[in-house]
């Protein structure tokens, strides 16, 4: 397969499930995104604190160590982090909808529709 057209956009993927993480990285890579992985909120926050500035964050909610809600709360406290658009991907619709909707760009329910995910990433990711 030919190398994809590079988009020069970085996506921070926060997801605890190994396979979902691996498959999303593969697919987004195929679309030309640069993907940085984190297995939980704590890891992702550390990456941000170390200077990573992704154009978008893909955030799972139910994770050990630091879950998606806690991560979002932490990033909202830092204006620099708060401005990064967040797309939530979660299998649990009801609880996720509660008090998250206001603070994220968009909410996508697992299992994910790839086209929809890609169009939302395209829509919300910060321009280069």
């Amino acid at each position: 397969m030919n190398a994809p057209t590079p988009k020069n956009q970085t996506i921070l993927l926060v997801e605890d499930d190994y396979d979902i993480r691996a498959m999303l990285v593969m697919l987004l890579d195929m679309e030309g995104y640069h993907v940085v992985r984190a297995t939980n909120g704590r890891e992702a926050l550390t990456l941000l604190e170390e200077g990573l500035r992704p154009h978008l964050i893909l955030l799972d909610l139910m994770m050990p160590v630091m879950n998606g809600w806690q991560f979002r709360e932490e990033t909202l406290n830092v204006p620099e982090f708060a401005s990064i658009p967040v797309i939530v991907i979660s299998g649990d619709g009801r609880s996720a909808a509660q008090n998250m909707a206001d603070h994220v760009a968009c909410f996508l329910k697992k299992p994910l529709e790839l086209d929809r995910l890609l169009s939302k990433i395209d829509e919300f990711a910060l321009p280069v």
Binding site: D19, M26, D92, P111
Partner: protein
Amino acid sequence: MNATPDLALVVPNDERHIRDSVLQELIVSAFELFDPRTPMDAFMDSVAMRLGCAAVFALNFRGDHLELLSAAGLSTNSRKLPLPTCAEFRDGVYPWPEVRRDDLDVWDFDLSDRAMIQSGDEVHLVLFIPRAANISPLYRGLLERLCRIICSALHHRRLFATVLKNEEELFATKSLYLCIANGSSDGMIFQPIDGPPLCNRRFLDIAGMSAQPQNADQLSSHLVSLIEAPRDLLARMARQTFLATARAHLSEKSEPPRDHQGIELLFHDGREFLFFCLPVTSPEGVRFGHCWYLREVTAQNRARRERLSLLTQEREARAISEKARLRLSFLTDAGQILLSSLDLEQLLQNIVRHCLPTLADVCAIDLFDQGEERHVVAAVAGDPPSWVDLNGFTISLDAEAGPGHVMATGTTELWPNLRASDLERFTKDDNVRQLLASLGLTSAIYVPLLARGRCIGVMTLGATTSGRVYGEDDRLLAEDLGMRVAMAVDNARLFRRSEKAIELRDNFLSSASHELRTPITAFRLATLGLCRLVESGRLTRADMPMLRDALDTARRQSARLERLVHRLLDTSRLDTHRVPPQPEPLDLAYVMEEVLHDFREEIRAAGAEIVLDLKPTPGRWDRSFIEQIFTNLLTNALKFAGTRPIEISVAPDGDWARLIVRDHGIGIPKGDQERIFERFERAVSPKDYSGFGIGLTIVRDLLQAMGGRVHVDSDSGQGATFTVELPREC
């Protein structure tokens, strides 16, 4: 009158002789004047006859009023003529024809003595003598001497008349008083200062005596024989003292009781009398003696008793209806309080507060039935009530009485008078006994709280300082209240349980949703990736690892999905009757190795290190049971261990086999360690860790089916060690 000429004819010597004889005769006649019961007329006639008078008058000049005391020589008609005034008489104006003559000399003698003059009387003896009779003047002297005798006689006549009159009046008075005494409705014994007692007729009637008593002793003995001894000791003593005083007074003339209201005596025949004594004294203060009265009060007492009984009945009826009203209002209020909240703690506090101080000085509700969380609320009356913490005190169910006994038997205990020694029977625990003693209960009711045929606790109502004594009424009220409380507690518990069930269900649904969506997502992403690669039609050799990865993921995720579906089915089977284990010869160490092989990719994905210590452990067990137990424990450890090592050991221990799975993850707080084996219970939030909350439940149930057990040793942040013990033969 014929004698008068005779007097004139007699010779002087004879005359003197005749005069003496006239005087003697008149004196004799005058003696009759002494007796007031004989008229003066005979004497007047004698005077008139002896001295040859036309008429003789005895007159009383009282002021100007003339009174004719007696007369001789007057006709019946003349005697009826109106009397002249004193002045007219002195002027010689007479109404009587017998003396309206010119030939009459008037001899007037004053008979008044000092006493008469003092009383304003002036009695005269007036003689009308015919001049022709030629009475010797010597007779005048004779009459003057006679007048002194008449004067004396009249004086005595008057005194005698007074005496007679007084005697008559005395007799009348005596009769009157006798009539009064005998007519009295009170029995009377007059005890004169000297002499024997005297009873009136009414007394004799009352006492059943036919005659006056012979003496005081007989009287008092007879009286005592009629009287019933009072039952009340104090009344009997008072009666004896009083009767002794009365007896001494009647027999020995000792002092009667003073200022005494008297006592009531009950006769054998049922009559009741008031017996009292009053002094008999003249208005001038002369003491004649004492009078004892026996006043019948049978009717009054009966009426009074009836009135009292009616009054008491009415009061009682009013009290009962008031009490019923209060009870009803108390229960109504209690009902509202019990309906007002489904929060158990709040509900118990409210009802305890409601009981104080209306129903009790101390109130406690202790819920301590098996399988339920203990709730104990207790308070002492006051404003506000002071709450007592009883959580550290337990109640022994094997007590022979008291709250523990009530809990065990489900029957109310009513202690109207609670003694310190009773507490010995309530508990063997010194601390509990001291606590009970410190409350200072004097009366108590222990009511079982019965709900749906079970005793869920005990309600205590106690009296301390108020001095109330619980009775049957209070017991009924307390039981009624206890029933309502038990029902409300049961409702609150059911509500709490249903809330908990709903929460568990929500958590489970949330977890299940996450658990299922995760592999589906991974699977879909893998197939999407494959599709993209294939659809591009430009696959190169360089794409092969990517292709293999995607295919591998799809395979793994389908297997994961299959396992999840199995577990979900297990979940739904938890309640239904489980298939009994089918033992076969197995080696636990070998089975563990197989399971670990199946898990190798999960272990790799989690980045965990597994430290094994597997010793051959043969035995007979159900293979699928053992696999499920291992799988669940391993899944659990992988979930919480993170990248830290997981230690697994399998080894035989005599007739038992032991499996230990130790992780160094977040650990389980002590308080949660019982709970995690319950269905859908989890020590962590579903937001942080995935899972159904059924793994450990399955482990426990399967082990139980094979006669084994599992326990956890852990604490917050200390990792967790699950130890499974299984008999080698199940």
